[in-house]
């Protein structure tokens, strides 16, 4: 066999491994946030493996679907899941390279996630339930408002590294060594707000509520049950892990394995897990100390983030 074929096979194996790893870890992150939140409220919280138990329970249930729904309703969660999992292969996790970095960079990542969102929002309109429509409408509204801030925040880092490719970006950051730029702080704050908005956390959305008027993401997927719901839940968890990993990559890449060796990989895994947990703790703190914003106050929050991102760009390059 010649070299390119071997390389392709290796890349594919690596992509599969990374996607599988992210899929495996994602429910744990969800539980970790729940646990930290419970501790802050003086409760014990769920057992560490609760995320997996929930998924296992949902998968083993009988699939129930609405009589009015068409194939779009069935396709929605599957495309959403596929988009989230595919996106995980576009970000570097343990080594300063993404498995599919030859396929695309930041724009593709954002685009793939947008495809998943489009599929799920469309599917939500399919049951005829007013909740689906309400959730889809609100989810698309918030996503649309968050998009420019997300893009500007990502562009700031990308332009600093001279590439929109996440692998190249992380490698450039590592080469430059640990350096503190005031713009990083601004860009990080801006992106952190967006990550909260995109992952449906308080103060933008409340993942724990099923109260009619406050649901956003939960309203959108209210009609889903059984295995379909399992896909949605799992994909949402993967998406959250993905966004936190992205923040880690862009702002605190230190600790990532410089070369593929068992020890380095173990260290990199520990560093990555620690950094993601740290960010998760920040998310938990925000969620525990804030009240959910009214839907029409969210644009203000997002425009603050847009302003921060723009300022970051301006002071970094002018």
């Amino acid at each position: 066999m010649n070299i390119p074929v071997i390389q392709t096979i290796a890349t594919v194996m690596w992509a599969i491994l990374q996607a599988a790893g992210m899929l495996a870890v994602a429910p744990l992150l969800k539980t970790a946030i729940k646990k930290m939140k419970a501790r802050l409220q003086g409760r014990q919280g769920p057992p560490w493996l609760q995320g997996y138990y929930d998924l296992a329970k949902l998968v083993s249930k009988e699939p129930v679907r609405s009589e009015t729904a068409s194939w779009v309703y069935v396709a929605g969660p599957r495309v959403y899941f596929a988009a989230a999992v595919t996106a995980t292969t576009l970000v570097p996790v343990l080594v300063p390279a993404a498995p599919l970095e030859a396929v695309g960079g930041i724009l593709l990542l954002v685009g793939v996630l947008a495809l998943g969102r489009f599929a799920l929002a469309t599917a939500a309109l399919d049951t005829g339930s007013p909740f689906g429509g309400m959730g889809a409408s609100r989810d698309m509204t918030i996503a649309a408002l968050a998009e420019p801030a997300l893009m500007l925040g990502l562009f700031t880092s990308a332009l600093a590294a001279g590439s929109l490719n996440l692998g190249v970006l992380v490698r450039t950051l590592l080469e430059q060594g640990p350096s503190f730029q005031p713009s990083d702080l601004l860009a990080f704050s801006g992106l952190f707000v967006i990550v909260i908005a995109e992952t449906g956390r308080i103060p933008v959305d409340n993942p724990a509520t099923h109260l009619e008027l406050t649901m956003i993401h939960e309203a959108m997927v209210l009609e889903y049950a059984g295995p379909d719901l399992a896909l949605v839940e799992w994909a949402s968890a993967v998406k959250e892990l993905l966004y936190l990993t992205l923040l880690v990559d862009l702002f605190i890449p230190a600790g990532i394995a410089p070369h593929v060796a068992p020890v380095a990989l173990v260290v990199a895994f520990a560093a990555w897990a620690g950094k993601v947990l740290l960010l998760a703790a920040a998310v938990t703190l925000v969620e525990s100390t804030n009240a959910k914003l009214r839907l029409f106050r969210v644009p203000e929050l997002v425009s603050i983030s847009l302003g921060l991102a723009f300022l970051a760009l301006a002071i970094r390059f002018l």
């Binding site: 009988e62 068409s70 292969t89 599919l100 030859a102 593709l108 489009f118 409408s137």
Partner: protein, 675 residues
């Protein structure tokens, strides 16, 4: 080219002869059109394939020595190719569509209008001199107006056509003025000499730029010259709307390219900046207005404005790059703009054809009257979904490719342009991101409300799938969306000769594309050698395999799916409990209320107590800002002047003779003073 025009003329003559035999007339007109489009398409592909420019003479006037001719440059060929790609499926669609949607007595008129429109657009793209261009431009305007007024027994149609004519003639007026000034300066009527140099002084160039911007901007539909577009596009029969949105706006874009960007010498950086600003404003306002529409065809028309904005934005970035002498960046930006011309034509044509089938099946254009159409019209629904995904610029489809290219242009523009002015690029990027995300929201609504859940009217419940002649062209266009989205190298291959022919742009290694993917970067700027790359087919494979994984994971339990009614919140689930199109866009309408200035009126009719209403009337509208604050004062002023002029035009012959006499004397006095 001559052959194509001859076929069109012969078709028009035949259609005139066959006026009384509607089915035959329809067949002849559309078959002739397809044939002519094929001829033009082959010419265009020949030029793009490296055959070099094609030119020829249409008419030679011996006495004055004036020659009217055509010259297909690579840029013209690109636009002709886009036209051919759309015109052929639209003509096939029309065979089925006109049979149902156009009254037999009007078939000949519509068939002739169809050919006249396409022929004149071809000639606009191919014209080699000013006279041919303006003649074709005017025929195009008149043919469009006639097609818009197809249903001329309706007042709204007549009004749309009138508005279109007025706006178009404002544009044509500025074009005539601009071209005559150019011709006087260069001493030639031929485009190749006239647009080749920049002998003019800067203030004069600025005036000419403004004139041409108005002239071509009207057709492109840029804000604030867009007011005719959402009226005229929906009024025409749907297949004509598809042509108008997909192709007619590109005549304006062609003009902006040919004259504003490359005909007045090296463009000023401020011109590029102006185009970027106008493009960004157009795209965001277009999509915001599209969001709140509940008329499907108006929604699509407003979304055309948005896409015109994106095209102009790319062109503006290209002009700035050219002004700064950055040839690689110019190539990327122009490629983005030209690729979006093609991509928009394909998916908007597809969406308008889909809308046409829906309107034909339900007899309504109102989104709130549709619902559940996917069950009744599965194929139309599928193709419409492909179009909706494309226009939302998600990966795997063609809309994503041009969005990706535009982002490359904007980001590389930021990275390689000196000075403060470069901050405009990321601002434009943020606006582009917002427009794209809003377009996704808009088309989740457009597709979801129309095709999913329960039928909202008896007509929607009884809708029937469109015939094969209408489905096949949609299938072709949907397939093109997918192919261009998965293999973007094809588009780039076609664009290379165009980019090579445009002065001040050099693709070189800035934009590389094989069959699979695209790579962008600026070799000339340090550190930006390879900026980004995209291989959509790779993502497609990854997504398909994960989809398979998801399906396997879910199907593992092997349990049969149980169907149950949707929970109707305790009440009975019906079309009236579904989320409506108005409700869907309500949050965004609230967020952007500064733009919309919405007004709402709720009347409750009750006899006994307000808690037991017998009837609730809800009325909501958004303020037509441009019509009310920009055009209304202009119209008022013009009317006032006209009223004032009535005094002069008293209708008395004696008075008119006196005017002639006075003018004659004045002229003699004036001219008498000069030797």
């Amino acid at each position: 080219m001559t052959i194509a025009l001859a076929i069109r003329l012969a078709t028009i003559a035949l259609a005139l002869v066959l006026t009384r035999r509607a089915p035959l007339c329809r067949g002849v007109a559309l078959a002739g059109s397809i044939l002519a489009s094929l001829v033009t398409l082959s010419v265009a592909v020949g030029v793009l394939g490296g055959g070099g420019p094609v030119d020829g003479v249409l008419l030679r006037h011996a006495a004055s020595g004036m020659v009217l001719g055509y010259a297909v440059t690579p840029l013209s060929a690109w636009f002709l190719m886009v036209l051919g790609v759309i015109a052929i499926p639209v003509a096939i669609y029309s065979i089925g569509y006109f049979a149902h949607a156009v009254a037999p007595s009007r078939t000949a008129a519509v068939g002739i209008g169809f050919n006249a429109l396409l022929g004149s657009v071809e000639l606009v793209f191919a014209a080699g001199d000013v006279i041919t261009f303006l003649f074709a431009w005017e025929v195009m305007t008149l043919a469009t107006a006639a097609l818009v007024a197809t249903e001329h027994d309706e007042r709204a149609s007549r009004r749309s056509a009138y508005l279109f004519l007025v706006m178009s003639h404002i544009g044509t007026g500025s074009l005539v003025a601009g071209f005559f000034a150019l011709a006087a300066a260069s001493g030639s009527m031929s485009f190749s000499t006239m647009l080749g140099q920049s002998a003019m002084s800067l203030p004069m160039r600025g005036v000419l730029f403004a004139l041409f911007f108005v002239g071509f901007g009207v057709k492109t539909g840029v804000v604030p010259l867009h007011v005719w577009l959402p009226e005229a596009h929906p009024a025409a029969p749907s297949s004509i709307s598809a042509l108008m949105s997909a192709v007619l706006i590109t005549t304006g874009v062609y003009g902006l390219f040919r004259v504003c960007a490359f005909g007045l010498g090296v463009p000023d950086a401020n011109w590029g900046l102006f185009f970027m600003a106008v493009g960004a404003l157009t795209s965001i306002l277009g999509v915001l207005y599209a969001l709140t529409q509940t008329d499907l065809k108006r929604l699509l028309a407003y979304s055309t404005i948005e896409n015109a904005g994106i095209i102009v934005l790319g062109l503006g970035a290209g002009m700035m790059a050219r002004a700064y002498g950055n040839r690689e960046l110019a190539a990327i930006a122009l490629a983005a703009s030209l690729a979006h011309v093609l991509n928009h034509a394909v998916f908007k044509g597809l969406l308008f054809l889909g809308a046409g089938s829906v309107v034909m099946a339900t007899g309504s254009r109102h989104l709130e009257q549709f619902g559940g159409l996917l069950r009744r019209m599965p194929w139309t629904g599928l193709f419409f979904l492909v179009g909706a995904l494309s226009i939302s610029s998600v990966p795997l489809l063609n809309g994503f490719i041009s969005e990706w290219l535009t982002f490359q242009a904007l980001l590389l523009g930021f990275a390689s342009t000196p000075g403060l002015v470069r901050l405009n690029f990321p601002v434009a990027g943020a606006i582009l991101a917002l427009s794209a995300a809003l377009a996704a929201a808009c088309f989740v609504k457009g597709f979801g409300i129309s095709f999913l859940a329960l039928p909202r009217s008896a007509e929607a419940a009884e809708a029937r799938e469109a015939p094969m002649t209408m489905l096949a062209p949609m299938a072709v266009l949907a397939f093109v969306c997918l192919v261009l989205g998965l293999f973007p190298g094809i588009v780039l291959g076609g664009l290379q000769p165009v980019l090579a022919s445009l002065p001040g742009s050099q693709s070189g290694r800035a934009l590389l594309g094989g069959t699979m993917g695209l790579t962008s970067g600026l070799i000339s700027s340090p550190g930006l050698g390879e900026f980004d790359r995209v291989v959509p087919a790779g993502v497609a494979i990854a997504m398909l395999s994960t989809l398979g994984l998801a399906a396997a994971f879910v199907a593992r339990a092997g349990l049969a799916v149980r169907r149950a009614p949707t929970w109707g919140c305790g009440g009975e689930l019906s079309a009236r409990t579904e989320y409506t199109a108005t409700a869907f866009s309500k949050p965004l309408m609230m967020v952007f209320r500064a733009v919309y200035r919405p007004t709402r009126q709720v009347d409750t009719l009750a006899e006994i107590s307000p808690y037991f209403p017998q009837e609730v009337r809800y009325r909501a509208e958004i303020e037509p800002t441009f019509e009310r604050y920009v055009y209304a004062p202009v119209v008022r002023t013009v009317l006032r002047i006209a009223t004032g002029m009535k005094v002069l035009q008293a209708g008395s012959l004696h008075a008119y003779l006196a005017y002639v006499l006075v003018l004659g004397v004045l002229l003699l006095v004036w001219l008498g003073g000069t030797p």
